[in-house]
Symmetry: C2
Subunit: 412 residues, 2 copies
């Protein structure tokens, strides 16, 4: 939970302050501006001044020690609340087990559903809290977390309550998404429509009434939820006042990206197989493309066409997709490296994708840029240039994290 | 520098102790054995007992808190001493610059040579010390470091002295390798043979006399040092009493792997393009294949055929190849993930590759296994199974590092 607004703070002796520029990012071509020998003033949690040279006198001062400053990161797509890792499945796959062998051995997403259903809300919240701490140490101050391993009324509500409770204990601003339509549970094995009608649609209203989520999401793929069902889920979400996200065209070009455009969703996510025309419609409808290269990396899939999307004017954000199955990567900076190395994004584009673009896709327009009027959410890096985040995969460069002018993490 | 042998220690309450098994790894098919609810006794720095259940009374006790214990890691291939990152080059490449553009802009390995020549020995040692600290926090207790950015008498000796001096300050056992034959310096642009005769061969004797390296290495590729020159360098190293390593068949199948077999080198490294027959000769000559998937990952090259090598009985070790150009990855656990995800190695094979197999390739037969008679070099992991090291790329799982019975790192 982000503190409303906290202390005044001067951050001085910043070797280089690098930030996406507001107006440029809106047209999908992000630019990063750098101020050398910089300082930053935060008053009532909001940046009031960014300058170079001699800083003004402010009561509270933090010496950045010549480090690089960037906006704190935002992870717009995670499945970070769950019980039970799936390491056994990872090992079996490497030993040659196929998809069917893993299902036969009780693996796959439904195994996470079983263990999440069996877990107490407290246990789920505690697990999530530990993961939020890990994210914070990587510079994340805003993070989306989805339900979707409960797949029944009680278990989905339990997950969402666990998200709320962990969020209240964390310095991270946790954005909750209801993803009841994540998979078809055993009870409705051949009847996805029945599941949507009986469980998901009624739950959407409950979730909105209880204020347990800001967004609704749906996994739209052949064999899971088709376009028509996805459309119904999203429209029900809109009626209930929720924002809309969609898992679209990950494995097959079903047209989820086009649906996102039609419904003007806040984001469409994955998009590995999305068609050109659907992507262009997303651009025109101002739907953010949330790309998740960690999943392609883990599964050995082809990466989403980030270069094409950016060159055609789409707004691209990046997320971890952190989950115990297809992407157990919690480290947003490893995602940044993958975006450069495997999707040919430039470091400037990546910085915008994990700050301003990701935050806007979550309705957090108040952050993601280091300029007057934005939240004082800052990360200090032990590096001489912010692009070391991408250049050095697996390095731990985050030295300090400042939330609204309050230091919430410092290494050692 | 590894302390000769230090304190007695009981490590108890180990949730699972997982270790490669000695005799199995020798035939190239590594197996890992796991003892649950385990303890470990270290006397005079050496393991005297591994057991399960109630531990014996030993003066000094460390409660592992139910964590997983594995042997500490060994990184058998790094270029960790250098001045100057090459982040600008990384950015240019992503903006579309080709190999020639980068050379024209003063980039590439020779830019590292320029900055390393210009750096003081103290500065080089300080840089390396910082990187050794990072490696230690990832569980590495044995690490090879190569010279090879000096490429003249004075600068190569300066690098090797910096390695020695940083090693003396570190809890890591640093193994020094003389890689004068890393590239052809500007001064000998069209005369690699002249460089070998004038600089490298005479230096080999100096380095051996001054006890500045344990190994000699050579970069054997078309356009750099051909088979004949590599042969001369390695034979000179052997005459001087050094162990032999070779950068072989990374870009083209020149036959470096075959040369390694012929000379019975301790290791041949990279091997992305090595031919089957040469690899089989390596197996017969008991040359360890040191694979470096981080470099293939960064450069977008095809990975070495680890699966084929292991299935044909070669001994495979894994290293980072950490350097400022082709592989700025310092995190050995990210290498472990790559080995599983991109080279289809099993977690058992990977654990052996970063412990016993890597250590043996560096002549450190006294470590890499948790069994009586081996050094008490132990890593405790915040995980329920050692395979989480591979399953969760970018996670920081190392909780504690114990060197010869002495705790040398503990998180927070």
């Amino acid at each position: 939970m982000l503190q409303a607004y906290s202390a005044d703070l001067l951050i001085h002796n910043i070797g280089a302050l690098s930030t996406p520029v507001a107006d440029e990012t809106e047209c999908g071509v992000p630019q990063v501006e750098t101020v050398n020998d910089a300082y930053l003033v935060i008053v009532d949690g909001v940046i009031t001044e960014v300058g170079s040279g001699s800083p003004p006198a402010v009561g509270n001062a933090l010496d950045a020690g010549g480090r690089v400053a960037v906006p704190a990161f935002c992870d717009p797509h995670t499945h970070a609340v769950f019980a039970g890792w799936r390491c056994e499945e990872f090992i079996s796959r490497l030993q040659g087990a196929g998809y069917k062998d893993i299902l036969a051995a009780g693996g796959g997403i439904l195994s996470t559903v079983r263990s999440t259903r069996a877990a107490a809300q407290k246990e789920l919240a505690a697990g999530l809290q530990g993961r939020l701490d890990e994210m914070l140490s990587r510079g994340v101050l805003t993070c989306e977390v989805k339900s979707g391993y409960g797949l029944d009324v009680e278990s989905e509500l339990k997950m969402l309550r666990a998200i709320r409770s962990a969020g209240e204990q964390s310095d991270i601003d946790v954005v909750s998404t209801f993803l009841g339509a994540h998979a078809v549970p055993d009870e409705y094995q051949d009847d996805p429509a029945g599941y949507i009608d009986d469980v998901v649609i009624p739950l959407i209203d409950d979730v909105a009434d209880l204020d347990l989520a800001e967004y609704v999401d749906v996994f739209c793929e052949p064999g899971v939820f088709d376009l028509q069902l996805a459309d119904r889920v999203l429209r029900a979400g809109r009626r209930a006042g929720l924002g809309l996200r969609i898992h679209a065209d990950e494995m097959e070009a079903l047209g989820g990206a086009g649906l996102a455009a039609k419904l003007q969703c806040d984001s469409a996510e994955h998009l590995l197989s999305a068609r050109d025309d659907d992507l262009l419609r997303m651009r025109d409808a101002k739907v953010t493309a949330v790309l998740l290269p960690g999943t392609a990396f883990v599964l050995g899939e082809p990466y989403a066409r980030a270069r094409w999307m950016i060159d055609h004017g789409l707004t691209v954000a990046l997320g971890t997709d952190f989950n115990p199955g297809s992407c157990p990567i919690i480290d947003i900076s490893l995602i940044m490296s993958l975006a450069c190395l495997k999707m040919q994004m430039t470091p400037d584009e990546v910085l915008a994708a994990v700050t301003i673009n990701a935050a806007r896709s979550l309705g957090r327009d108040d952050r993601g840029i280091l300029a007057s009027g934005f939240r004082g959410d800052v990360v200090l890096l032990d590096a001489e240039h912010f692009a070391h985040l991408m250049y050095r995969p697996g390095a731990s460069l985050v030295h300090s994290v400042i939330s609204g002018g309050r230091q919430v993490y410092c290494r050692k």
